[in-house]
Symmetry: C2
């Protein structure tokens, strides 16, 4: 079966406060990087998905994101998929 | 001055163990998604950078990543930059 490399990004919705981003922004400003603003922090998750087709891999990923990786009340997710060479058995 | 939207990805180097990724992989397998393997977790940081030029914005971002956002002993970073419309004064 083909193996797909997935790169998933999970971000807080823009209406949700991001204290981690605010903390990073304050730290950047103290390091004199005052030109950096509107800092927001999300998660970047990579994984391999073995699936019969790209459509099948997308179904698995959507379910995984909805059930585990993203809290859809507060977060949005997006991902890209790329077929990789299957590792030799 | 132009404003650039930066999307920064900070990932653990492949030689570094990723317990968070392992925990997510176990949870996915318990949810029956056993086709998901090699899960790794990183950070995704977005920010606006006000700079005279794209080159200048890249200098600021490289310094911010090296000094604050990424621990270069264990992590790699990459980013993309995109010029945004300047907000009206």
């Amino acid at each position: 079966m083909p193996v797909y490399n997935a790169r998933i990004i999970v971000t807080l919705r823009s209406s949700i406060l991001d204290p981690e981003g605010t903390a990073i922004e304050h730290a950047l400003h103290e390091l004199t990087y005052t030109s950096c603003t509107n800092v927001r922090v999300g998660k970047y998750i990579t994984m391999n998905v073995e699936a019969e087709s790209e459509e099948n891999a997308r179904e698995i990923l959507d379910q995984a994101c909805r059930k585990l990786l993203a809290n859809q009340v507060m977060e949005d997710y997006s991902y890209t998929l790329e077929e990789t060479e299957r590792e030799p058995a």
